[in-house]
């Protein structure tokens, strides 16, 4: 650790960093624009100037850009030097000559890095009396608003969009002081990570358009740390509320999970919380008046659940607590997973592999630091977008680290490193049923049928491990590449294997395991990731409960069984006839859910349950990390409470989450550690809770004054060390309960620097979340040897596979207008050869025949699809649930 001297005082700093990072890590306020911890330095904005002195005798010094200057032992610098300060102020003054007088109507105001930096440098008066440059704006789609006048030319947007996210449709145009950041033509931004522009842009050029529709300043939001409910990665988010509505989602940094970025589904998929379609009133149907009070409801339910003939259906999108409370209420033998047999089977395979402790379950950070990646049969771009972004960073970083080894160049010197690296990439092999944007980065990419992908996986493992039976001579051309893939993996220090269940194929999961285990036996630091469909799929799978179809069998044996369904739409996990059959066999049906859907229509008793924003709970992500989400606000409507609270009320249990966690640990040992995921509700700092509202929160005495002029008592929170007020501890709380980022002088999201050990490093005191799936010290394992038969197309029949769409396949996210607007229409994709054989062209109506039912879909020709496969989008509201992974008949209408 070198020692540097800042303003005549010695400080120890980390080696290999630049001066700007080091100064920020030490707590100094040094202004900057173009530097970003995830993107490195380019020295474009000239804002972070400091004075560096040659030695003790040097009194003149020289101005340098601190982001471009590496740390050296004994380096002497001054931040407060008058020349450096004047330089920084003048740079801001130049930037501000063209900055419009927009702050009052700019959405960035109050969380604006440019505002913060202007105040920080002391520039407070515009001396320049001449004209300002102006630009025309562009329409960039439903998520991002463009206001180009506000630009300060820091290049962060294009560096993020092109270098980090791999997008191609945002660029910089024109020349000299006319440069323009936008698209070649107006239109929707194509990258699914475009929402990050709102956070990356240090000023108000790119802002969140969904927030604009119900605009609230950052200081007026009631916030809490939460976990994204839209996919299995469990990205950490902040949700902000005002007037009983969620207003925006921003990124909550967790260096082991999502880092600095979110996908558009996570950022803009929050509108379901505010939806008209929410269930808000408990109902007992079939009475004179359906709507009932809580007491009536509980009395009825206690009577109903008293007779013992009862089963519970858990859900992959309900919290761990809700599933556990349901399990407790109905009894552990009467609890079933609310997923179909195939999914439950595949998820069980995943949990069996990960729980055995043979392999490390990779966090996203592990993937980012890997030097070779194999994606086997999972379309992570659509099912786990931030994982795809991480894979991209990993591939780039591997190439960069090879570059900086060849020549002495610091890794943060972004432009130089990229320039030298050119088109070189780290190793990525991407095998899937249909093409992916990741293919552009991949050294090898393969499109094949699931069985062939699995065979390829088995073949790679056989190449890697001599103890496996050698492969028989394979006709399939895929296996030709297996040798190259195996070689690349065997050369890596830290390979990562990624797979998932969206291909509906168990052999792929086994093949991924085989490869990872073979690499492990070679002594590699290997890890594996399995992508699952929903936010708490792992949490539900870990309960080991039987699947939904088992419940169906049981209902056939016992008539009049009461069924409690917790937050799952049965019509989305089973084909319609089976769902109908299920409901026809039930006795009374009790449904708890967030939104009205077809299952809630069938409910005899309907109970409103809280979404992630109004409730406390935990999700287990695909890595096996239990993460806590906090109630963001207490809704006016007392009926909207967490599913687990309702279930505890019915059973007469407790409503304290901490006690529930203790019971979960007792009842289900696989969740051991859940009680340590976050500080207990009684946790206080200097006797104070942590406020959910910033200290500048406005309007407390007027917000609800039209209803009742006396202010109501603030809602009390028994389940979190957070208060629903602006009073409380103002410093930096433990990472798990941070409600928003703010530090004196830092109002924008960049205040995050103050919450990290070093910029870009982990949060002070450690990242939140507890891993429950850990690698054992002495791993022991066996290979799977049951390689599937090669795929062969059948005559007149096609293997039906799902295509997940980032914007469209999510049940909840489709309530967001922007996401619904960008989601695809239903279609059926076939290979070119299959389409030609049926004399069909793009747009022809195709009829899929499944179990006597016919579904008409327009044809889309997928060039890269294997013959004999038929792909339809999964999870669209307009799409029926189809038996994916089975063979279907398709004819042209």
């Amino acid at each position: 650790m070198p020692t540097i001297r800042i303003d005549d005082k010695d400080y120890e700093v980390r080696d290999g960093k630049n001066l700007l990072e080091s100064c920020l890590a030490l707590g100094f306020d040094l202004p900057y624009f173009c530097w970003h911890p995830a993107m490195g330095s380019v020295g474009a904005c000239r804002q972070c100037a400091v004075k560096v002195f040659k030695d003790e005798q040097d009194t003149r010094g020289r101005l340098v850009m601190s982001c471009m200057e590496p740390v050296k032992e004994g380096l002497r610098l001054s931040i407060v030097d008058p020349a450096a300060k004047a330089f920084r102020e003048q740079v801001i003054e130049w930037l501000m000559t063209n900055h419009p007088h927009d702050c009052p109507v700019c959405d960035e105001g109050g969380s604006c890095h440019l505002q913060d930096m202007t105040v920080m440098t002391g520039h407070d008066y515009r001396r320049y009396q001449y004209r300002k440059r102006t630009y025309q704006n562009q329409y960039l789609g439903p998520f991002i608003h463009h206001e180009m006048n506000r630009c300060i030319q820091c290049y962060r947007c294009v560096r993020f969009y092109r270098d980090i996210a791999g997008g191609e449709d945002l660029n910089v145009y024109a020349a000299h002081d006319h440069i323009y950041f936008g698209r070649e033509k107006e239109g929707v931004l194509q990258s699914p990570f475009s929402g990050n522009l709102a956070e990356i842009c240090p000023t108000g050029v790119f802002t969140d358009k969904t927030l604009k529709a119900h605009y609230t300043r950052k200081w007026d939001l009631t916030n809490a740390g939460s976990v994204c409910p839209h996919c299995s990665l469990g990205c950490n988010i902040f949700a902000g509320e005002r007037y009983g509505e969620i207003r925006c989602i921003t990124n909550r940094f967790n260096s082991e999970v999502n880092g600095y970025f979110l996908c558009d589904k996570g950022r803009f998929g929050y509108e379901f919380v505010n939806s008209e379609n929410r269930i808000r009133q408990p109902l007992i149907r079939g009475r004179l008046v359906d709507a009932v009070s809580e007491d009536q409801l509980l009395e009825y339910l206690r009577h109903l659940t008293g007779n013992g003939n009862i089963i519970g259906i858990g859900s992959p999108r309900a919290s761990v607590e809700t599933n556990f409370s349901l399990m407790q209420l109905v009894g552990i033998d009467n609890f079933y997973q609310g997923v179909n047999e195939d999914t439950a089977f595949l998820q069980k395979r995943v949990t069996d592999i990960l729980e055995s402790g043979t392999l490390r379950s990779n966090s996203l950070r592990d993937i980012e630091s890997s030097d070779a990646i194999l994606v086997l049969g999972e379309d992570i771009w659509n099912t786990a977008p931030i994982m795809a972004l991480t894979v991209r960073q990993s591939v780039m970083k591997t190439a960069f680290s090879q570059t900086v080894q060849q020549i002495s160049l610091p890794s943060w010197n972004d432009i130089a490193v990229r320039e030298l690296t050119q088109e070189a990439r780290g190793y990525l092999a991407n095998a899937g049923t249909s093409g992916s944007p990741l293919d552009k980065l991949a050294t090898h990419h393969v499109q094949a049928a699931p069985d062939d992908i699995a065979r390829m996986g088995y073949a790679i493992a056989a190449h890697l491990d001599p103890s496996l039976p050698p492969l028989s001579k394979q006709e399939n051309e895929l296996t030709a590449r297996t040798g190259e893939i195996a070689l690349a993996l065997s050369l890596a220090r830290k390979p990562a294997i990624i797979s998932g269940i969206s291909a509906c194929n168990e052999a792929i999961l086994k093949a991924a395991y085989n490869i990872a285990w073979a690499l492990k036996r070679m002594g590699k630091e290997v890890g594996i990731s399995y992508v699952l469909p929903e936010c708490n799929s792992m949490g539900l799978a870990l309960t080991k409960a039987p699947s939904f179809e088992k419940a169906l069998g049981r209902l056939e044996r016992n008539t009049g069984t009461t069924v409690i369904v917790a937050e799952q739409d049965i019509y989305r996990c089973l084909p319609e006839e089976q769902a109908e059959m299920f409901f026809s066999k039930c006795g009374k049906i009790v449904v708890l859910d967030v939104l009205h859907n077809r299952t809630t229509e069938r409910a005899h008793v309907l109970i409103p349950s809280a979404s992630f924003a109004e409730g406390d709970g935990s999700f287990v992500n695909n890595e096996g990390r239990i993460q806590r989400f906090y109630k963001v606000y207490a809704p006016e409507n007392n009926n909207v409470i967490e599913g687990w609270k309702w279930l505890e009320r019915i059973g007469g249990g407790n409503e304290r989450i901490d006690q529930l966690h203790t019971m979960i640990e007792k009842g289900l040992s696989q969740f051991a550690g859940i009680s340590t995921e976050a500080p207990a509700a009684g946790f206080r700092i200097h006797g104070e809770a942590v406020p959910r509202e910033p200290h500048r929160y406005s309007g407390r005495t007027a917000m609800w004054a039209h209803l009742q002029v006396s202010e109501p008592k603030p809602h009390q929170d028994n389940n979190a060390p957070l208060s629903f007020t602006m009073e409380g501890y103002k410093g930096i709380p433990p990472a798990a309960i941070i409600p928003f980022y703010w530090a004196p002088g830092w109002n924008s999201v960049q205040a995050l620097n103050k919450y990290q050990e070093i910029p870009g490093g982990k949060l002070t005191g450690g990242n939140p979340g507890v891993r429950v799936l850990n690698e054992s010290a002495e791993p022991r394992g066996d290979f799977f040897t049951d390689m599937p038969e090669a795929f062969s197309a059948r005559r007149g029949r096609w293997l039906l596979l799902p295509a997940y769409h980032l914007l469209g396949s999510g049940e909840m996210s489709m309530e967001s207008r922007g996401i619904a607007e960008l989601s695809p229409e239903p279609y059926l994709a076939l290979s070119m050869q299959d389409a030609v054989a049926m004399n069909a062209t793009t747009g022809s109506t195709m009829v899929v025949q499944i179990m006597g039912k016919a579904y008409s879909l327009p044809l889309k020709i997928a060039e890269t699809l294997t013959d004999g496969l038929a792909v339809v989008p999964a999870g669209l509201p307009a799409m029926p649930v189809l038996p994916f992974g089975s063979w279907v008949e398709i004819v042209k209408k």
């Binding site: 323009y180 007027a702 009742q708």
Partner: protein, 171 residues
């Protein structure tokens, strides 16, 4: 003893001074134009609402008695969807007026707003908006702001160059 007599003498002298009290409410008090009384929302010279819903008055308010919600018309002009002041909390400090970047919120020389019921002191936008520019005539924020909100096109405002032609490479 001497001080008592002195006091009585001074009080006696006041009999011949000019009266400071007036017969309110029959006689109205004369207030300075900058007196900080009733809060109003004013309009710009073109008759549009001056308030752009920036929330600065609300955040400046030391008693948090201002609540509003910004919204936009089709042309992107911001205005408050509702604007509420709880006068039962207001201390008439004038910070809201100082914070307002558009001269929308102003305190005027009128204090006659007593009510029997506290609830009646909650004023909505309809109660606050007046048909006048108030103390600062001639200012229209959207004419000097950079954005196009239907008041002026891009580059036609005061001290603005016409929009950049991004296809040009000329210096």
């Amino acid at each position: 003893m001497l001080s008592h007599i002195r006091t009585m003498w001074l009080v006696f002298l006041h009999l011949f001074r000019k009266k400071a009290t007036i017969e309110y409410p029959e006689e109205k008090v004369k207030l300075h134009p900058r007196y900080k009384g009733r809060i109003v929302l004013t309009r710009d010279p073109d008759g549009g609402e001056r308030c752009v819903g920036c929330y600065l008055c609300a955040v400046a308010c030391p008693v948090d008695c201002i609540a509003l919600q910004a919204t936009e018309d089709e042309q992107g002009r911001r205005y408050p969807e509702f604007f509420r002041i709880n006068f039962s909390r207001c201390i008439f400090c004038g910070y809201c007026e100082e914070a307002c970047p558009t001269y929308a919120i102003q305190l005027i020389p009128d204090f006659e707003m007593a009510e029997y019921r506290r609830q009646d002191l909650v004023f909505e936008k309809e109660d606050l908006l007046i048909n006048s520019q108030g103390k600062y005539p001639g200012y229209n924020y959207y004419k000097v702001a950079g954005m196009d909100a239907g008041v002026k096109a891009k580059g036609t405002g005061k001290n603005e160059d016409p929009p950049v032609d991004i296809h040009s490479l000329l210096p």
